[in-house]
C-alpha cells in the first residue's frame, strides 16, 4: 500500500472518528435537554399553571407572543439597547485593550479600572444607571439610556482584557518578518495583527454579547418602558407568571438562533485553517 493511500485512509478514519464524536456530542446534548424537559414537566405538575407552566405550555404561550407581533416590538427594543451597548463596549474596551497591550504605561494606568469594572456586578450597574438616568426616562426615540449604560459598563472590561491579552501575545517573529520584507503598516494590520488576535476578538464579542443581553434585561426590569425586561417585570407585577416564562422562552430562542445562525458559521469560516491543520496532522511526514 503506498504512503499516499495509507495517509488518505488515515484521514478517512480520522474523519469517521470526527463524525462519530459529533454524533455522540449531539446525542449527549439531546439527552441533556430531554432530562431538563422531563424535570421541568415534573416540577410544573406540582404547581398551578399560572405559577409554573409546563414546557409545552410555555412554548405555546411564546408562540402566541410571536404570532400576534407583541414579541417583535419588545425584542427589537431590547436588541436596540444591546446593539448600542455592545458597540460602545467594543470601542471603549477595544481601545483600552490595544493601548494596554502596546505599552506598559497604559497597562499600569488602566489595569485598576479594568479590575474594578470586572468586579462590579451588572446588577449594580443596572441600579446605578437607573438612578443616574432619572428612572429610565432619558431616551432618544425608543432607545433608553439606562440599559445601554449598564450593559456598556459591565461588558467593556471583559472586552478590554481579551483584546489586551491578544495584542500582548502577538507573534513578534511575524512582525519582524514583515518588517524585514518592508511590508506596509496597513497590510501588516490586516494580514498579521488582526488574524493573530482574531480568537481574542471573537471571544470578546461572544462574551460581551452573552453578558450584555443579561444586563440589558436586568436594566429594563428597573428602568424600562419597553423591552423584554420590562415585559418580564410587567408580567410579574400583574401576576401573569406564565407570561414571564413565555418571554424568557422567546429570548432564549433568539439567543440560540444567534449562537447557531451567526457565531458558529463565522467561527467555522474564520478558523477553518485550524480544522484543516488538525485533520491533516499526520506527524513528521
Amino acid at each position: 500500500m503506498s504512503i499516499r493511500t495509507q495517509l488518505s485512509r488515515f484521514n478517512v478514519e480520522l474523519l469517521n472518528g470526527d463524525v462519530k464524536s459529533l454524533l455522540s456530542d449531539s446525542f449527549a446534548r439531546a439527552i441533556g435537554l430531554g432530562v431538563g424537559f422531563v424535570l421541568w414537566s415534573l416540577l410544573a405538575a406540582q404547581f398551578p399553571r399560572e405559577l409554573l407552566p409546563t414546557p409545552l405550555e410555555t412554548i405555546g404561550l411564546a408562540w402566541g407572543l410571536v404570532a400576534d407581533g407583541t414579541a417583535w416590538i419588545h425584542i427589537s427594543t431590547t436588541f436596540q439597547s444591546l446593539f448600542w451597548a455592545f458597540l460602545f463596549a467594543m470601542i471603549l474596551g477595544g481601545t483600552l485593550g490595544i493601548l494596554m497591550g502596546l505599552n506598559s504605561y497604559s497597562q499600569n494606568f488602566f489595569t485598576p479600572y479594568v479590575n474594578i469594572g470586572l468586579s462590579i456586578p451588572g446588577l449594580a450597574w443596572a441600579a446605578v444607571a437607573f438612578l443616574v438616568f432619572s428612572y429610565g426616562s432619558i431616551a432618544l426615540g425608543t432607545l433608553r439610556f439606562a440599559p445601554v449604560a449598564a450593559a456598556t459598563l459591565t461588558v467593556f472590561p471583559y472586552v478590554a482584557i481579551n483584546i489586551w491579552k491578544g495584542v500582548e501575545n502577538i507573534d513578534h517573529d511575524l512582525l519582524r518578518m514583515a518588517n524585514a520584507f518592508s511590508i506596509s503598516r496597513r497590510r501588516v494590520l490586516w494580514r498579521v495583527v488582526l488574524p493573530n488576535i482574531a480568537p481574542q476578538i471573537f471571544s470578546a464579542v461572544r462574551f460581551g454579547l452573552a453578558i450584555g443581553w443579561k444586563v440589558t434585561i436586568i436594566a429594563e426590569l428597573f428602568a424600562g418602558s419597553a423591552g423584554v425586561g420590562y415585559k418580564l417585570e410587567h408580567a410579574y407585577q400583574v401576576y401573569q407568571y406564565e407570561e414571564a416564562w413565555a418571554w424568557a422562552a422567546v429570548f432564549l430562542f433568539i439567543i440560540i438562533l444567534i449562537e447557531y445562525g451567526v457565531f458558529k458559521p463565522i467561527e467555522r469560516r474564520a478558523f477553518d485553517w485550524r480544522t484543516d491543520v488538525e485533520l491533516s496532522d499526520i506527524g513528521g511526514q
Binding site: D173, L174, R176, M177, F181, V192, P195, W273, V277, G284
Partner: protein, 263 residues
C-alpha cells in the same frame, strides 16, 4: 520527503542575472545597555562579490545576527555603512530573508504566504508564486497551510518566499539549525542547486563549520569585535563531507576559528 526533493528547473520568468554585491564599510556597532555602552564589533570592512556564497561564522554572542540585521537594514550601525551595488547600477537592492524559524503565517496558505511579501511587486501573479513553490519541490502544497507541512517543508516555503521577491541578495540566518540533520542535509544540497541556478548573492550566518564549508566559497569568522578569519574555500562542487580534501580544509578552518581563543 525525498520524493519531493526538487530537480531545480527555473522558469523563464524567474530572474537569474541580477545578483548584487555587498560592501560593509567601517562598520561599528555598540549597544546602549544598563551597564553602559557594549561594543559588538568595530571598524569592519568586507566586500562580498556578486553571485558569491559567503558564510559568516561565529560563536554565540559574537554579533553574527547583529551584523546580518545591519546588512538587512533592520538595525542601524553606530558608525560606518553597508552599501550595495546592483547589476542595473542603481544600488537599489531587494533583499530576500530566510530566518531561523520559517516565520510563516499559519492562517494563510503557502501560496498566500508568498503573495504577502510581494506587496510592491507589480509583476506578481499566482502563477509566479506557484513557480517558486515548484522550485523548492512543493508543487502539491500550494493551498496547504504551514501547519500541514513538516519542519523541512516549512523552511522550503520560507526559501521560496524569499526568492519570490526576486532579490539581488539573499540573507539567511541559521535557516537549518532547527531541523534534523537528514532534512538539513537535503536542504543544503537544494540550496546549492538553487544558488548555482539562480545566481544570487548569498550571505549566510551559521555556527556550524561543516555546513559552512559545504555551502560557501568564502568563510568569514567574527569574534572579539572583528573579522579575524577570512578563508576562501578551495573545494570543487559537489562537496563530499567525508572526502580527504574536505576534512583537511575543515581542520584548517577549525584551527583558524579557534585561533582567537589562543590570543
Amino acid at each position: 520527503m525525498s520524493s519531493e526533493t526538487s530537480t531545480i528547473t527555473t522558469d523563464e520568468s524567474i530572474t537569474t542575472d541580477n545578483a548584487g554585491s555587498i560592501h560593509i564599510e567601517n562598520l561599528t556597532k555598540e549597544f546602549d545597555t544598563a551597564e553602559g555602552y557594549e561594543l559588538v564589533f568595530e571598524d569592519i570592512n568586507v566586500d562580498i562579490e556578486p553571485e558569491s556564497f559567503v558564510c559568516l561564522l561565529g560563536k554565540s554572542g559574537s554579533g553574527k545576527s547583529t551584523m546580518l540585521n545591519i546588512v538587512s537594514g533592520i538595525l542601524e550601525p553606530t558608525e560606518g555603512r553597508v552599501r550595495f551595488e546592483t547589476a542595473d547600477g542603481t544600488g537599489d537592492v531587494t533583499l530576500g530573508h530566510v530566518f531561523q524559524s520559517p516565520r510563516l503565517m499559519p492562517w494563510d496558505s503557502n501560496l498566500q504566504n508568498i503573495e504577502f511579501v510581494n506587496e510592491d511587486n507589480p509583476d506578481y501573479t499566482e502563477e509566479l508564486g506557484k513557480q517558486h513553490l515548484d522550485l523548492v519541490g512543493l508543487s502539491d502544497h500550494y493551498h496547504k497551510y504551514p501547519g500541514q507541512l513538516s519542519g523541512g517543508q516549512r523552511q522550503r516555503v520560507g526559501i521560496a518566499r524569499a526568492l519570490s521577491i526576486d532579490p539581488e541578495v539573499l540573507l539567511m540566518d541559521e535557516p537549518f539549525s532547527n531541523l534534523d540533520e537528514i532534512t538539513a542535509e537535503e536542504l543544503r544540497k537544494e540550496l546549492i542547486s538553487l544558488w548555482s541556478e539562480l545566481n544570487k548573492t548569498v550571505f549566510f550566518v551559521t555556527h556550524d563549520m561543516t555546513e559552512a564549508i559545504q555551502l560557501a566559497d568564502r568563510l568569514l569568522m567574527l569574534g572579539d569585535g572583528e573579522i579575524y578569519g577570512d578563508l576562501e574555500v578551495p573545494l570543487d562542487r559537489p562537496r563530499r563531507i567525508d572526502s580527504d580534501e574536505f576534512l583537511k580544509f575543515r581542520q584548517k578552518a577549525i584551527d583558524t576559528f579557534h585561533s582567537i581563543d589562543e590570543d
